[in-house]
């Protein structure tokens, strides 16, 4: 994306977020860097426990004790959020950056009407009067495909279906026209037909408002349709990133390759569907060297000694691997 602006909307630099639990320090995010330009959609992918949600919460300053952002910078248009005070963060939350949580069923307060929960955002972040706020809420609900919106504002979350609740959560996230929306698996809780509907809707909304989005998912098929570029996380580290097309067509990290190969494909027979062998190591005591080496078909002696760092690969890709794949090469 050619942009006249030189500073990206959000730049994450070497972010470390740890949880100091009784059973040891969980290095949930351990040196993550990426950037998102204005109007871009970035996919953040990886298996469960990779640290995707923690990255999202870190950006919003929502890491609670025993968790802590240990180091790194989160630059929103050049301004660091890690060192920003709680008051500044509160202005940013909802207005400049908003988040759609992983589980839509539990994101809404069961005791407040949907209207009140939407109105709260506008009361916090706009100077609109009560009537104007209501009109805005109704328009936003309608734009996410909820009919009879005026009436539904008075309803409670339990009177909504899962899909509708998710739409409400998305509507809330977009209400104050934030510059960045962090969507944490916005569709995993929904059935497949609604999934694609909602994704299309979010995409359209974002294009419409000129916003950017971090789309968090473990589903590479979803991001490959939605994202401009992709960052792959494994055990709290970025293992690969680059433009969507380059990364999907010719990934250079064996882990990315594994993820892509496990996407069900209608042209493939089911028995050829592969899975990455083994499972994610215990994040509390990671092995020395490359975190992925125990599951990696290409691992060699050096992988157990030295942790690979992100290095440029072909085209737009950056990967952290001692033995990256060449274009066209199988894992």
């Amino acid at each position: 994306m050619e942009n006249s602006e030189h500073i990206p909307l959000l730049e994450v630099r070497d972010l470390h977020t740890y949880f100091h639990t009784f059973s040891g320090t969980v290095k949930a995010v351990n040196g993550v860097s990426f950037e998102i330009g204005k109007g871009e959609v970035m996919g953040l992918v990886g298996e469960s426990g990779g640290g995707k949600s923690v990255v999202g919460f870190s950006i919003l300053g929502l890491i609670d004790s025993p968790g802590k952002i240990e180091s790194g910078e989160l630059l929103l248009e050049g301004q660091d959020l890690v060192t920003a005070g709680e008051d500044r963060l509160r202005e940013i939350r909802g207005r400049e950056i908003s988040m759609v949580f992983q589980d839509p069923m539990t994101s809404l307060n069961p005791l407040h009407t949907v209207g009140r929960q939407m109105d709260e955002v506008l009361r916090l972040h706009s100077d609109l009067g009560a009537e104007a706020r209501q009109t805005t809420c109704i328009e936003m609900l309608e734009s996410v495909g909820i009919s009879r919106a005026a009436e539904r504002l008075k309803a409670y979350p339990h009177q909504f279906s899962g899909g509708m609740r998710q739409r409400v959560v998305i509507a809330i996230a977009m209400l104050a026209r934030p510059k960045l929306i962090i969507a944490d698996e916005p569709t995993t809780a929904l059935d497949v037909t609604i999934q694609s509907q909602i994704l299309k809707l979010m995409r359209a909304q974002i294009a419409d408002k000129g916003a950017s989005m971090i789309l968090i998912t473990h589903d590479l098929a979803v991001v490959s349709e939605m994202a401009d570029h992709i960052t792959v996380l494994y055990c709290g580290n970025v293992v690969e990133r680059g433009q969507t097309r380059d990364l999907i067509e010719n990934p250079s990290h064996p882990y990315t390759r594994g993820l892509i190969d496990s996407i069900p494909d209608t042209t493939q027979r089911l028995d050829r569907l592969s899975q990455i062998p083994g499972s994610v190591p215990d994040i509390r005591n990671l092995p020395q060297g490359c975190n992925f080496r125990e599951r990696c078909p290409r691992a060699q002696a050096i992988c157990a000694q030295k942790e690979p760092s992100l290095t440029p690969q072909h085209k737009s890709l950056m990967a952290a691997c001692h033995f990256p794949l060449k274009p066209g090469e199988a894992a």
Binding site: E86, R93, G94, S98, M99, F101, N109, E120, L124
Partner: protein, 321 residues
């Protein structure tokens, strides 16, 4: 809604009836009230006469039948001791008790809720630990002891508050209330504080537990992600969700305090119905005891009903069925 109300009304009546039966049976096992009425040197004949006068010569069943039929005519029986309608005796003293209980409850809630919310939101802080240690004392220290310590300090040593009795009253809507006079507040302070401490501690702990539970919920974090202030997140989103068990306990405590304000009333010579109950028990004044117990049962049942209504006001998922 109307059907619900009717159902509840029938339920309440049933409960009250069962209470009346139990109370009557229990009464018939306690000491013979005749000896409390007649002079010590009364002859057998005089005793027999007194017994007949009080209707105690008949079987429990007949006594109960008489009690119920006159009750349905609005007659709750007469005190053996005061020769006055038992209901009048109790109602005269009800405002004093209710007044003290209400002040104690308001005090308990006003202290317990904010401290409970704070302790629940910051469970590991030093202030929270201090609050919780204090609440443990509130639960474990017996009321009579606290009352006596307060009297010793505030009345005897420093002379800030009077040690006993009710202050000046004024007539409000036909009731004699002491909360409208300075002197009244001066007198009610110590007994109300004494009465409130236990409830305060329980409500505080319930609030804290509820807030800790609620704080883990996604919608709390989502509210923060919307940019809500900490105060709004805690009180508008958190507290409301933590409130159901707190209100349940509140209702039970309110009934308890009305029923068992007796100790506090005795310590502070507070002219409430608790003190009347104690006196009546000493004198085996059965009609007063029976009416007192029935009234307390009624209060419990009504509070219970109100609590159920409050549930539905708080939580739209709860419906009256």
């Amino acid at each position: 809604m109307l059907g619900y109300l009717l159902k509840r009304l029938i339920q309440m009546t049933l409960v009250l009836w069962v209470v009346s039966v139990i109370v009557f049976i229990m009464m018939s096992f306690t000491g013979d009230p005749v000896f409390m009425v007649v002079p010590i040197d009364a002859t057998d004949l005089e005793i027999e006469q007194a017994r007949r006068l009080l209707g105690l010569d008949q079987s429990v069943l007949v006594q109960y039948w008489k009690f119920m039929t006159s009750l349905l005519h609005g007659d709750f029986g007469r005190s053996y001791v005061f020769r006055q309608p038992a209901m009048t005796l109790i109602l005269e003293r009800l405002p004093a008790t209710v007044e003290m209980v209400v002040v104690a409850m308001v005090l308990a809630v006003a202290v317990a809720i904010p401290l409970g919310v704070y302790a629940g939101a910051n469970p590991n802080g030093r202030i929270s630990r201090t609050i919780m240690a204090g609440s443990l004392m509130g639960i474990s220290l017996p009321g009579f002891w606290v009352g006596m310590v307060l009297i010793y300090l505030f009345a005897v040593t420093w002379g800030i508050f009077p040690s006993s009795g009710r202050g000046d009253t004024a007539e409000v809507l036909g009731l004699r209330i002491s909360l409208v006079t300075r002197d009244g507040w001066h007198h009610i302070a110590l007994p109300a504080i004494t009465l409130s401490l236990g409830t305060m501690a329980i409500l505080l702990r319930m609030t804290r537990a509820g807030m800790m539970e609620v704080s883990r919920q996604d919608f709390m974090k989502f509210a923060r992600a919307k940019g809500a202030t900490r105060r709004d997140v805690l009180y508008k989103h958190g507290l409301k969700n933590a409130l159901i068990p707190v209100i349940t306990i509140f209702g039970l405590q309110l009934g308890d305090l009305i029923a068992f304000a007796t100790i506090t009333e005795t310590i502070f010579s507070w002219p409430g119905m608790g003190k009347l109950l104690i006196d009546s028990i000493y004198r085996a004044d059965r009609p007063v005891i029976v009416v007192y117990l029935m009234l307390v049962a009624l209060i419990f049942v009504v509070i219970n009903f109100l609590v159920d209504i409050v549930y539905t006001l708080i939580d739209p998922r709860i419906t009256l069925k």
